[in-house]
Symmetry: C2
Subunit: 93 residues, 2 copies
DNA sequence: TTGACAGGCAAGTGGCGACTTGCCTATAAA
DNA sequence: TTTATAGGCAAGTCGCCACTTGCCTGTCAA
C-alpha cells in the first residue's frame, strides 16, 4: 500500500494490461482475466502467473477482491494513483 | 518515452528519490545529485550508478538535460506522468 | 602543458522478480 | 459420493536490472 508496492505493481506490462482489462470490464474472475488476456492481447501466461500478478496489484491497493462461493471477483481501484500526482504535481490542463 | 520506459523509470526507489531531489532543487549536476542523495537520504550509490539512473529517467522523459561547458544540468519534467492519469482516471477531488 | 574536475563507456557480477511445475483445498454440479 | 471447476501454496529456474570496476573523453585552471 506504500509507494514501493504501488510502483512495483505498475512496473510490469502484464499487470498494466490487467488494469486495462478491469477498467473495461470490472469484477472479473481469475479465469475470465486469463481468457481475455489471451484473446484480446495475445498474452499466453499461465493461470498461476496471472494469479501472482493479481496478488501484487492487490497489495498495491490497485485491485480489490470480493469472494462469492468458489468465485473471486476482482475490482479496479485507481485511487492509489492519486499519490503519484500528489508527489510530483503537473499542470492540470 | 513510451509507457514501458515511464513505468520502468518509476519502479526504482533511488530514481524516485532523484525526482524528489530535482523537484526541490531543479537544475543540478550529477555530482550535486550524488552529494544530496548521500547527505539527505543516506544513500551511498556510486557516481556511475546515479548516472545510469539519470539516463533511465531521461529516456522516460522525466528528466531533461542542458549542457554548459563541462557541466550538465538536470531538469525535472513531470508532464509524462499525465499519461498515467489519462490511462486510469480517478476522481479529481 | 599539466593536473584536477565533470562526465561517459563497457564488461562483469549478484540478486530480485516473473514464470513454471506440481500438488493441495474448497465449492458446486452430476 | 464422485467429478469437474475455481483458486491457492511452495519450491525451483531463468533472465533482467542495479551496481561495481576500470578506463577513456572533454573542459578549465594553474
Amino acid at each position: 500500500m506504500d509507494a514501493a508496492d504501488l510502483f512495483k505493481a505498475l512496473s510490469d506490462p502484464t499487470r498494466r494490461t490487467i488494469l486495462d482489462e478491469l477498467q473495461q470490464s470490472d469484477g472479473q474472475t481469475l479465469f475470465e482475466i486469463c481468457g481475455r488476456l489471451i484473446m484480446k492481447h495475445g498474452l499466453s501466461s499461465s493461470r498461476q502467473a496471472i494469479s501472482q500478478h493479481l496478488a501484487v496489484l492487490e497489495e498495491a491497493g490497485l485491485v480489490r477482491t470480493r469472494r462469492e462461493g468458489r468465485y473471486k471477483f476482482h475490482h479496479l481501484d485507481t485511487s492509489p494513483l492519486r499519490s503519484i500526482v500528489d508527489r510530483w504535481p503537473f499542470d492540470k490542463e
